[in-house]
Symmetry: C2
Subunit: 279 residues, 2 copies
């Protein structure tokens, strides 16, 4: 990626981690963020060649990575002064609406949808970590503006981050992340809501690692996750529906006398034991 | 606890960890386990004064800790040759049935229900860890056989394990663990079942830390957890019912156009961020 100038708009955990990794690998990086405190931290970090406002960054960068919340990504795609020959990537957690917005970019601007499957409980530039993406899946989604060169450049970026590129269409992407990311988030929130409904403060004293892990993602920024959930509401509703059908069936088993264990539990436990996750 | 002889029946993760901690603190410990391989490991560990069969252990120990699966605890309470003056404790994850069985022990045998809120993904004596209970809640439940001396002895044991004793009645215990342990377990299994129902093997390639943590407890031994769930089925069904009501309400919010975020999400995120767990 010699002599290719990257620019990143949105310097939170994801954008900041990409910037740190690229800088570590010797690539020049420009940055933009709407928050003055984030700009001050980013400036002090020495990671960036320069911090610009978004239009100036778009004017100066060969490749622009949009790493803001999903709602703002759509707005930035519509409003920034994109230039033919330029590449745009994003890191949003849902892809159908963003890919559609990428299809409306001016002719000659190339674009690829992106979604790194990596996160942390902490957010913000201060939590940024150049190793955040190592060994993790980085989902890549073709758009009406994805040229072969753009695809190769996106894959080279993923390789530079130490992540694994996995291509899939936007519809498939949004369905899959509904199952593995958004449903677990909604369920973690529901476990919190149900435990709160018990109105028993002592619950929080005895909650152990099982509850901690089951609800960990409920601590995510609800405004950021709220945008994600709204943008994938149809797929998430379908997943919630299926989950509730499973739970209703099991509740009937457990209400039998003597209580029956759901017949698939042994199989599900074995499946879960066999799953391997990138750490 | 000088000159007090402890005996532990069931040398899996919990019984083995108690044994290792007591031995480390200089207390003599007898052990019993129905599995020959576990007995061989326990014998080779040098932790135990002797490994006996359960009736011989009951004949020799001043205090007996039943650390087998919950179903066997009830059987052992009914069938072993308990002696007046002896103390019995257990470590089962549900307490109503066990406490009732303790109430049927011979006169003069004292008994306290116990439940350490500690666990691991791995099980068995090989995973036993003397530090497993450090700083963790150790729930203690009074029984019709709980004398003041028995209560003090149980608290001294919890102190020796480095855990925090928290007393509560069996009914309250079983309701609380339904919310913080059993519901998260059932939900983790349901997330696995729902993801399997999607019939998309690529899901497992992109599942990241959110899915990993949300489903971690689903990897527990389903036979051990099955006994626990059966013994607390009424409370778990009530918790599942409430959870599904919450999810149905939120699904309706998300189906609105434009999708509404459930009004309590901001509050729930703040609550979860504020929770502190013993590590």
């Amino acid at each position: 990626m010699e002599s290719f100038q990257w620019g990143i708009i949105g310097l939170g955990l994801i954008g900041g981690s990409i910037a740190r990794r690229l800088a570590q690998q010797g690539f020049p990086v420009l940055g933009a963020d709407s928050d003055p405190a984030t700009r001050a931290e980013a400036s002090a970090s020495g990671v960036f060649e320069a911090l610009l406002d978004p239009p100036a960054l778009v004017a100066a960068a060969d490749g622009v990575i949009l790493a803001t919340p999903v709602g703002s990504i759509e707005v930035l795609l519509q409003t920034l002064p994109w230039r033919p020959g330029q590449l745009v990537l994003d890191t949003g957690s849902t892809k159908r609406r963003i890919v559609a917005a990428m299809g409306r970019l001016p002719e000659g601007v190339s674009a690829v949808g992106g979604h790194p499957m990596a996160g942390k409980e902490r957010s913000g530039f201060q939590a940024a970590d150049p190793d955040l993406f190592l060994g993790k899946p980085f989902l890549l989604v073709p758009t009406p503006r994805t040229t072969p060169e753009a695809a190769a450049r996106a894959e080279a970026l993923v390789a530079a981050l130490g992540a694994r590129p996995i291509w899939m269409d936007a519809e498939v992407h949004d369905r899959r992340v509904a199952w593995v990311s958004h449903l677990p988030y909604v369920v973690a929130m529901a476990l919190m809501a149900a435990a709160e409904a018990a109105e028993d403060p002592a619950l929080w004293e005895i909650a152990a690692s099982g509850f901690r892990d089951a609800t960990r993602v409920a601590a995510s920024d609800p405004r950021m996750m709220g945008e994600v959930v709204r943008s994938n509401a149809d797929e998430i509703c379908a997943a919630v529906e299926l989950l509730c059908q499973v739970l209703a069936r099991w509740r009937d088993d457990l209400r039998a006398s003597p209580p029956l264990l759901p017949s698939e539990w042994e199989h599900l436990a074995v499946r879960r034991q066999a799953l391997r996750f990138p750490t």
